[in-house]
Amino acid sequence: MTYTEKNTLVSMLTGMLVFGIYSSKMYQLYQEGRFAAADAGVLMGKSVLYMIAASIIIAIITSIIFSIVHALATGEKKPNFVVDERDKLIELKAMQFSFIVFSFGFVGSAIALVFETTPLMVIFATITSMFVASIAGDIFKLVCYRRGY
């Protein structure tokens, strides 16, 4: 497995971790009935902002830890950071796939609105589809790298 593949795997696992923590926190708030309160929208907005900040910090930390572990495990002082045309094409294809997955989630959320689902649940569904799309994009990228292109 190459450095890029491992990096993609780490990014995917980090995404899953962040989403897992976020979902459990949201479920906890839901159980406490916080989303039934008048300031539920504010709470949701804050949670999204915290989640974005936390995911950036976690991504930076895991990236540093990964680089150190990779250097120790392989003995490579300088990993190969060359990004060539194939990498860029795979990245673009993965982004395209990710966008398609997100579009389905977004349309699904809009359909849920038609069936009188609460706007907060729709926002959560949209966030979920965003995470699922990101993970799907990473899986797509891994498959491309494994197959050659």
Binding site: T4, N80, E85, R86, D87
Partner: protein, 77 residues
């Protein structure tokens, strides 16, 4: 993502060039070794620029390094 219709003789050319490794070729053309592997196995068709660079490394004309198999009548892409 199957086999490309663009085939090549890079493997043989590497062998003829003092058994040049895939890593050496990758460094010479500024790509990763995995990209060289994908091109050699006809899994990935390089851009025209990269194809020219590869041909230049082996000092051969482009059409000698790469060949293209056109679709037969009724054959799907």
């Amino acid at each position: 993502m199957g086999k490309s219709r663009v085939s090549n003789i890079i493997r043989r050319l590497r062998f003829d060039h003092n058994e040049m490794t895939q890593k050496d070729l990758a460094e010479a053309i500024g790509v990763t070794r995995q990209t060289v592997v994908a091109i050699e196995n006809a899994k990935y068709s390089p851009t025209l620029e990269l194809a020219f660079q590869i041909a230049l490394v082996f000092d051969k004309p482009l059409e000698e390094v790469f060949s293209f198999t056109p679709l037969k009548a009724g054959e799907k892409k």
